[in-house]
């Protein structure tokens, strides 16, 4: 496997969707290519950082407006029924 092929297969590799033969080929390439190793490592971290980031608490004014709006809409809906 060459560097171009690693990039083509990168997503499948990171998602664990590559078959075992292709995974072994790719990992063999990684063990000899520090650039590809860094690309794979930093792309994996990119995904992890987004996945692990906790959503900030909803600002209280946004929370209040949401619940007030839903309450009003539910009231209208029930009046119509």
């Amino acid at each position: 496997m060459n560097c171009k092929r690693v990039i083509v297969e990168l997503s499948s590799y990171l998602d664990g969707a590559l078959d075992s033969g292709a995974t072994a080929d790719l990992e063999r390439h990684l063990s000899n290519c520090s650039d590809c190793r860094l690309v794979v490592d930093t792309t994996r971290k990119t995904i992890q950082i987004f996945c692990n980031a906790e959503p900030v608490p909803l600002p209280s004014d946004v929370h209040d407006r949401l619940h007030q709006a839903l309450l009003e809409r539910l009231k209208r809906r029930i009046k119509k029924a």
Binding site: L66, H67, A69
Partner: protein, 231 residues
């Protein structure tokens, strides 16, 4: 338990009729819930049968994540609030159609993404396309130019609010089609097949856009997370 006020206006039982007596009070009495609060499917079943307290619990549980998703897609706080309100309201109105073959949260995400895309198209009708951007000049070679080590846990160098602001900024720099595919697949964990269905694009298109999105984000995060940045 704000929604108990609404529920009490249409008494369907002796219990609810009793609550109606309390409606004019500024803080109506909350409806006691018989649902185990940490069980999503039980909450959904209760909400389906009219327990507004259970629906409110679902809103409380997911409002932060839905707001973040809407903010990431629309890049506008007012639009994100509208999207969140519409998504929760539509989920309530269509609860009967929810079959339970996926998680309620995944179903809610689909609704929110559709609302957010509609909002985006309304705001920028000529700029939001689910097709590959023809002016996109970030070919793979450009995307792979910056190859640097980030160290083991680069995100720990930032406070949570600073990190969130960096992530919001870099994802906002992506074209909508890349950002929505990335959010659905990698952040919300929606399958490739479901992402294709939600966005009305092919499975190969989802895969190709996901790869590009990941590489673009990697490149943009590089300036914040590379080791040489802090050494």
């Amino acid at each position: 338990m704000l929604y108990s006020a609404v529920q009490a206006q249409t008494p369907r039982s002796v219990f609810e009729a009793a609550i109606l007596l309390n409606l004019s009070a500024p803080n109506p009495r909350p409806l006691p819930s018989v649902v185990v609060r940490d069980d999503e499917s039980a909450l959904v079943s209760a909400a389906k049968s009219g327990d507004l307290g259970a629906f409110e619990e679902l809103v409380n549980r997911y409002e932060r994540k839905i707001f973040r998703l809407a903010m990431h897609i629309t890049q506008n706080r007012e639009d994100a609030e509208d999207v969140m309100q519409d998504a929760f309201m539509k989920s309530y109105q269509n609860l009967d159609r929810f079959q339970g073959d996926s998680r309620f949260y995944t179903w809610l995400v689909r609704i929110a993404v559709n609302e957010a895309l509609m909002k985006l198209r309304k705001r920028r009708p000529n700029q939001v396309s689910l097709d590959e951007p023809v002016t996109d000049r970030d070919n793979q070679e450009t995307l792979l130019r910056e190859i640097e080590d980030w160290g083991p846990s680069p995100e720990q160098r930032f406070a949570q609010t600073e990190l969130n602001s960096i992530l919001t900024q870099v994802i906002g720099e992506l074209e909508p089609i890349f950002r929505v595919v990335f959010l659905l697949r990698d952040v919300e964990g929606v399958s490739t097949e479901d992402t294709a269905q939600i966005l009305g694009i092919s499975i190969p298109a989802v895969k190709s856009r996901l790869l590009r999105a990941r590489l673009k984000l990697r490149q943009r995060l590089n300036k914040y997370f590379r080791r040489s940045q802090t050494q």
